[in-house]
């Protein structure tokens, strides 16, 4: 006979985790079994996006926002199986959820794959053992966002401008290490997919040169505010996700895809294996990937981005702001986010910390 004795501290920790998860779920809106519970980024909490789906399917979508895959997966870790139905996740991080056994394979035949930009399906990350676990719903670029009334747009066609004296003190850096390290890699002629530990010293030197030119390193709101208020003229790591939403108020804000290339960001939707509401979860994913859902997601109040579905029902003006028709050229020059393993990821984050602390 085998008796399983649990470490009392482990029991305590898991008990506390479950309690906190219950509170998180309550905070998400007092979930009921028939509701759809979604772990999302802020662009999915726009009522203009959710209401049409809720009304059409007579369902309440309870959303819980998170920032960063680590924080999202921690919420799942502390939840009971079945608490969550769908999750928005960085496409490159889909494997992290698969490794934890969290996600359900998606039925490709029931999703509009043929209509997606083929460059953004991110099969290397979203398909494992022939099964698809994530579908790209939105994408864009971490590149150079700028105010074209303050800088020479021709200069913005090269990453070298970011470290030139001409723009010293007029630059903000987006505070997310992976895409900006990706941009540093492009600046020194490295491919983002090939980065190894041996590249770190050269990347660090490039980051320090950027920091020496920068006025601030800010998260989404801070960097967006700095560009919008004229505190800085250039945002390293910026792109349509910063400039498009502000286009009406400030049409001078724009972005470039420099000659060295840009870093492609991409977010995916995944369904939880333990979802108790898989039919509705699939309907939600189908809605978000539909031309109407894609147009609403692309122009969400929180931030704009390119819809992954080419048939998104955007207006001509919205397409112009997102530079929809230029995408084939942009995508040809873009490179994926660096996707380091856990060890290199930690070293990259520590390098970023050193850059932040550098005076």
């Amino acid at each position: 006979m085998t008796v399983n004795v649990r470490n009392p501290l482990s029991t305590l920790r898991s008990g506390l985790g479950a309690a906190f998860a219950a509170v998180a779920l309550l905070a998400a809106g007092g979930a009921q079994a028939a509701d759809l519970n979604a772990l999302i980024w802020c662009d999915h909490s726009d009522p203009a996006l959710l209401q049409p789906f809720e009304e059409a399917n007579n369902v309440k979508v309870n959303v819980k926002e998170f920032e960063g895959t680590g924080a999202g997966l921690a919420i799942v870790d502390q939840s009971q199986p079945g608490d969550w139905d769908v999750m928005v996740i960085d496409s490159i991080d889909v494997p992290r959820g698969i490794e934890k056994g969290l996600f359900e394979p998606l039925p490709e035949d029931k999703l509009p794959f043929a209509d997606l930009f083929p460059e953004v399906t991110m099969d290397k990350s979203t398909v494992v053992d022939g099964k698809r676990y994530g579908i790209t719903e939105k994408f864009g670029y971490n590149t150079i966002g700028f105010n074209k009334s303050k800088v020479d747009p021709a200069d913005m066609q090269s990453l070298a401008s970011l470290t030139s004296d001409k723009y010293k003190g007029k630059i903000a850096i987006y505070d997310y290490y992976l895409p900006v390290i990706g941009m540093a890699a492009l600046a020194i002629g490295k491919k983002t997919a090939d980065l190894t530990e041996a590249d770190l010293p050269a990347l660090k030197a490039e980051l320090l040169k950027m920091k020496a030119n920068a006025k601030l390193v800010g998260e989404v709101t801070a960097s967006q505010t700095a560009l919008a208020t004229g505190e800085v003229d250039i945002l390293v790591g910026g792109g349509e996700w910063v400039t498009a939403g502000l286009a009406k108020e400030n049409p001078a804000l724009d972005f470039s895809i420099p000659k060295e290339g840009a870093v492609l960001w991409s977010q995916s939707l995944a369904m939880f294996k333990d979802s108790k509401n898989k039919d509705m979860a699939l309907k939600f994913i189908q809605y978000i990937l539909s031309p109407e859902g894609q147009a609403r997601l692309a122009t969400s109040a929180c931030y704009w981005g390119m819809p992954s579905n080419k048939k998104a029902t955007l207006t001509d003006e919205q397409k112009k702001i997102l530079r929809f028709d230029e995408q084939p050229g942009f995508l040809a020059r873009a490179q994926a986010y660096p996707a380091p393993n856990a060890d290199l990821d930690k070293k990259m984050q520590d390098m970023w910390t050193e850059m932040l602390q550098a005076q």
Partner: protein
């Protein structure tokens, strides 16, 4: 007698049980969980001290603690220097009937959201903000000064908040001070300055220390103000803790850094403990 005795002992316990339960549930148990987490590896979950050793071996992490201590010390000293005369004017110079209103006006900024207040400071200190525009218009500077996104901005945001807090604790202390102390000092030939330095200041030290302790605790653990006003041009400890969680979800390292921060706060408490004792009536 024995029943009455038991009841007599039970009542105090019954009264403090809710507070004890609250502390146990929302401080002791989470603290134990955090301590346990800090001793496990991020990958694999094995027992390890590596999370603590990282702090002592990585100069960037160590620098975050130095930044935190420097900012906290600066904020505490400036806040005391500004709050003391303010509290003294309120307690000694403002007529009794206006004191309540004056105090309410003094703490009015407390009524606004902490985040909103920080963003407001960002607008005041920005390149196109009130200060730079005023200085430029007056011809005092040709180019705008970099005030926002600096340590100066972080300290300014903190001081605005903590001056109010210290004013309250020092004001309360000054009001408790019997006028007879000052009269006695005057009778013994001490002038106003000597009376202040040798009588009033030492007797208001508890108010200063209580306010200073609260300032240290709240300032060293604050994430919002350095994040909004500091521009990430240097990291303080709470920002370093948050960095570990965002993408990588490294809760063990975040826990270890938090416990180190708590240890520093404990040292601050011990330094102030003499003045933080609750006086029994």
């Amino acid at each position: 007698m024995s029943v009455a005795g038991t009841n007599g002992r039970a009542l105090p316990w019954a009264l403090v049980t809710p507070a004890l339960a609250w502390t146990l549930l929302f401080f002791v148990l989470p603290f134990i969980a955090m301590g346990l987490s800090s001793l496990t590896a991020h990958e694999g979950g094995a027992l390890t001290l590596a999370n603590y050793s990282q702090f002592f071996t990585n100069p960037s992490y160590w620098r975050a603690m130095v930044n935190s201590l420097e900012v906290t010390a600066t904020v505490t000293v400036i806040s005391i220097v500004l709050a003391y005369p303010f509290a003294w004017i309120l307690a000694e110079q403002v007529p009794e009937r206006w004191q309540r209103l004056a105090l309410m006006l003094a703490v009015l900024p407390f009524w606004t959201s902490y985040v909103v207040r920080s963003y407001s400071w960002l607008l005041v200190l920005a390149q196109n903000g009130v200060i730079n525009r005023a200085l430029t218009s007056a011809g005092l500077i040709a180019e705008p000064l970099q005030l926002a996104n600096t340590r100066l901005a972080t300290v300014t945001g903190f001081v605005h908040f903590f001056v109010m807090l210290l004013t309250l604790t020092i004001f309360a202390n000054l009001k408790q001070l019997s006028p007879s102390y000052r009269k006695a000092a005057a009778d013994l030939g001490a002038g106003p300055v000597r009376t202040f330095l040798h009588v009033v200041l030492p007797l208001t030290l508890p108010g200063i220390m209580v306010g200073a302790f609260l300032t240290v605790v709240l300032c060293i653990g604050d994430y919002i103000t350095p994040q909004i006003l500091g521009g990430n041009n240097e990291l303080v400890m709470p920002q370093l803790v948050m960095m570990q969680i965002g993408r990588r979800g490294d809760f063990p390292l975040a826990s270890a850094l938090s416990i180190i921060l708590m240890a520093v706060v404990t040292v601050a408490y011990l330094a102030c403990a003499r003045w933080l004792k609750i006086e029994r009536a």
